[in-house]
Symmetry: D2
Subunit: 348 residues, 4 copies
């Protein structure tokens, strides 16, 4: 019911029709019928390749094309009031992050302080003025995938190409990708759906390494009495976020999405897939020859951006399973990800 | 009329009453009556000091307290549809920024590339896997006041203290301020008002160094047939943003807000004051002994966060003078500012 | 014998005489006579304070004043030939460093690459030129105490002051200290002495947490048939460096210098004290109320720079116990340390 | 005369013989005979390619192979006394650097301060201990070619390869080059020769954009009564360093080495070529199709590392034209350059 209303309001029907006559739809249909790893990921003798966009050879947005004036109007018209949930976590020295590949940890430092400017005098205004005007400045650095963030489609590709066939050789330089960079990601206003798998399983947090699969998602949605719809921002709660303040504990073998669960979300029309853990998916990989198959499947094969480190504790507690998801990621030119501080507004 | 409706809906009356019996209100009243620099900024023999919050000695939010469930509901209920405006600009190597005080310029670099991982093998997965799984990662660093952003109240204080009397000695350490840090700034959902001074003056851009004063603001609002209301996010358009892609031109002697204009906005109840230029205010300072008086006036004396580098070109072109302003700044613990990518949703 | 010759040649006698009538000598004598922690470090009711320089109230060099044309000539005239030992280790992603206090880890990244410039074209010269001229650039960042380095005297002080009484309030600003910054450290050309405690103890590496004390130093020197002399660069080998390529192992509870050993070196006239471990001294601290007493004792009380992460494996293997130590640290203005790549040239 | 003595002492004859039967010697001879750009740089229809090392296909050192125990002994045995000259400049916020290609400027920041640790308490030791133990820490970041430094051979190549035929495709990854990285550069102990072109021309500084050619070098050497020898570190003084403290003036159209001058130094056996300006060579390029031909000629065709921003003012003033050059660059793994603080010791 929810789904029908949404589709009607958002007017994505035309797009969906377009999809059915495309490679994208073919993949989806193939999965629906066969549901096997061997077809889409690692069939004998054939490695997967990147998906082609049903929105044309120049398309850099993938499923973000599902967001339109109509889809935004549909969800905004259902906002219930002024109650607001913050879906982002803090940035702080020592915070969790992706450390195994040597990326820089979050760093924050003062560049000007009320007392330090009296000595450094960076504005050349003299001691008296610095004692009166108390200047504080700071700077920070981070791996683009730090804190609550969204992955751009170029984050993971296959065989030297990213989604829609853009090759690193032609489009990736020392200042990033000239295709699908984070600056191309529009602000997101869409229906958000929380799939609270931890709550469905009756646990505070899924067990370490737990792999969320199709049955978990279907079961949780049924218990929440919700259906997914094309264009949804789907956020999966593992419960791991409650350990965010203990970096080591947060990072230790987190539960995450499995390939079977990812296929279900692709088939269900998800526009963005996110979770409250570090890397969305569970490790180690289920797929031989690919150490991060859920990422390549969503990003490179299906053009679906990923969100990570989303703060879902408050909406879980208040059982806000459906909401207006509103958030804009930083427009980092050429980047493969960007920080974001989205909110959830409950719907009528 | 707009104003009354808004006040009624947003239910800030109680807060406003509280204000009238407080130091904050006293300052505002004082200004209304006297309207002179000498009282609030540099009266003979008395330098200004930081303001005390009418929301109590522990308050770290200042006028952000004006935002409530009711105020959010009021503006969200008026959203006209799904049309959306992006109010943020891109981050890129060589972009504009605050350079005179030696702060780090925006820097973006690749940490992993599809071809570079084949040699570096950061995940220790071997050449074959790196040739198949095409990993792109990047990192960035910036002065906190880079790109579209919001200043926290601790950014500028007076005499070693920030708004509400928190002293650097007690609350500012090597990891930032333990009071009013950017992590305390909530996501903003509020009525936004564009004051398009450039359009009002009939120019593409205000002249270099032009100081926007009370008359400009009043005149532009009249021509836009709008009144300000308590709790507004007020965004002033100078037109300078059209030079954003030419860093040198963007930074050269920008037009900005003057003290007289700032006082008008304080009296009008603005919750946040922003503009499309680098530093909101016009330079050189009008106030002896203070090189950046509009900042200290808004931030330190009145608890009003500042936004800078807001992209207002599209809403100007479409004459969207009133809108739902929705945006969340990064929760950088202890910081004096944070990047933000807000949107504007036109209102009915 | 070595010592007498050195003193005669180096002409430090005048300085030593000066020292004997100064506070510095007083401290040394005090220690010689009493040899107790209670006097110099934590006597009942009295915490230690920073030392005053015998070279006058403006002095920023401390014992580096012992280096003169004469002292340099003395050691250079004894260089045995062209045999050279590298005393520095490599910088690489994931390398050891001081992590507990949140300082940035060594980071290295490419800014230009032969293939990446073809896309990014940072010089605006076009594809053809970029394909012909293969440009590689990189950048790095680090905590100043990373890799083989020297600590400036401002690195650790006592009670808000550093060596010779310079206070943070007057001399430490947002761009570092205006006194004793790393830019004031001259290139070092001096007699170097390896005290190979690990070899003396007959072990590859001192046991975890082992505290090197006076007896160890005296015993090792005797076995090496060497005496210390004023102005020496004294380098203590614990053997920990053999684990440098295994960051976790390198950092795990390293052996280091104890207070008793440090006092011996102060009394012996050491100009610089160094070691092959991360932080010179052994932890946890022996001194109540001071978590890093060897540092404050050498730097703040006696004006003796410290070197850390010095590569001593090759000179140990070849039993090069006495050598010309030659090295210049980066002239980082205001800094509390600087990287350095010194060499050892064996003496006749 | 100097030259014969040096050769005899340093025992590089065997190396020179080896060179005469190699591609390297062939190049040198070709230049001696023909001396034309067309042959070595841009003959009709043929672009230059990288040189092959006479020291074999695995060689990563190029002409640094000329440094041996014997060559070091030869120069060290001639050291005149203890007089020492510092050849390096300071690093400071706002310092000169290579800005046109967007590389990060030198940045230095405090990570711990005596007063700031009292609030931040990074060691978790509490207020009292932080008030007693006054901790100062800092960090810095830079483009590898900042301040006095040496370029590794991989800094500029030709057609995707660097000196000795190592290709970017095989050897350049996200963590730098696995061939000829800065970690492979040994500490340098060699005969240094100052060619004081500015003094020879009787000017404080060569005129902006002045191109130093063969005649300037030959003339200056004659006036200094010196000859170059194989294995020399040749340092050219333009006089531009006197503007180092005024970044804009230092960078404005500097004088530098021309191709004709570079060829002379290659033929003369220089092991390292350096200067006191930002980029060694004069711009704009003399060679069509190559925007930085002196770099590619020295680094990629002849395996000669380059030094830049060398401080030569003091040795110029004291007419120290010949000296022991001693300095070690930071061992930055994979890097294309590394900072260095060399010294000059006058020779007998």
């Amino acid at each position: 019911m929810q789904r029908m209303t949404f589709l009607y309001l958002s007017g994505v029907c035309a797009v969906l029709l377009a999809i059915t006559s495309s490679a994208y739809a073919h993949q989806a249909v193939g999965e629906n019928l066969q549901g096997s790893d061997s077809e889409t990921i690692s069939s004998a003798g054939a490695q997967p390749t990147v998906g082609k966009s049903p929105w044309g050879p120049d398309d850099e947005l993938g499923r973000l094309n599902l967001m339109t004036d109509e889809s935004r109007a549909a969800v905004l018209s259902r906002v219930a009031g002024g109650n607001m949930y913050d879906l982002a976590e803090e940035y702080f020295m020592g915070m969790p992050g992706w450390f195994p590949a040597g990326d820089p940890r979050y760093n924050f430092w003062m560049t000007h302080t009320p007392r330090g400017t009296i000595i450094a005098d960076p504005m050349n205004v003299g001691q008296e003025m610095n004692e009166h005007v108390s200047y504080t400045g700071s700077a920070f650095s981070m791996y683009s995938h730090t804190g609550t963030h969204i992955d751009a489609l170029n984050h993971f590709g296959l065989n030297g190409e990213i989604y829609n066939g853009f090759s690193a050789e032609e489009y990736q330089g020392d200042h990033g990708w000239t295709k699908t960079g984070a600056e191309t990601i529009p602000p997101i206003v869409a229906r958000g759906v929380l799939i609270d798998v931890a709550a469905y399983k009756g646990v505070a947090e899924l067990s370490p390494g737990y792999r969320v699969e199709r049955d978990d998602l279907v079961g949780a949605l049924e218990s929440q009495q919700l259906e997914l719809a094309e264009g949804d921002v789907v956020l999966i709660r593992t419960g791991r976020m409650r350990r965010y303040d203990d970096t080591e504990a947060y990072l230790e073998n987190p539960p995450g999405l499995g390939m079977d669960g990812a296929r279900y979300l692709v088939e269900s029309g998800a526009m963005i897939v996110g979770a409250d853990n570090l890397s969305l998916e569970a490790f180690p990989s289920e797929v031989e020859g690919n150490y991060i198959p859920v990422h390549t499947y969503l990003l490179a094969q299906h053009g679906i951006p990923i969100m990570e480190l989303v703060y879902l504790e408050d909406i879980s507690k208040d059982k806000i399973y459906e909401f207006a998801f509103i958030g804009g990621s930083l427009r980092l030119r050429g980047a493969d990800a960007a920080p974001m501080r989205p909110i959830a507004l409950p719907l009528r």
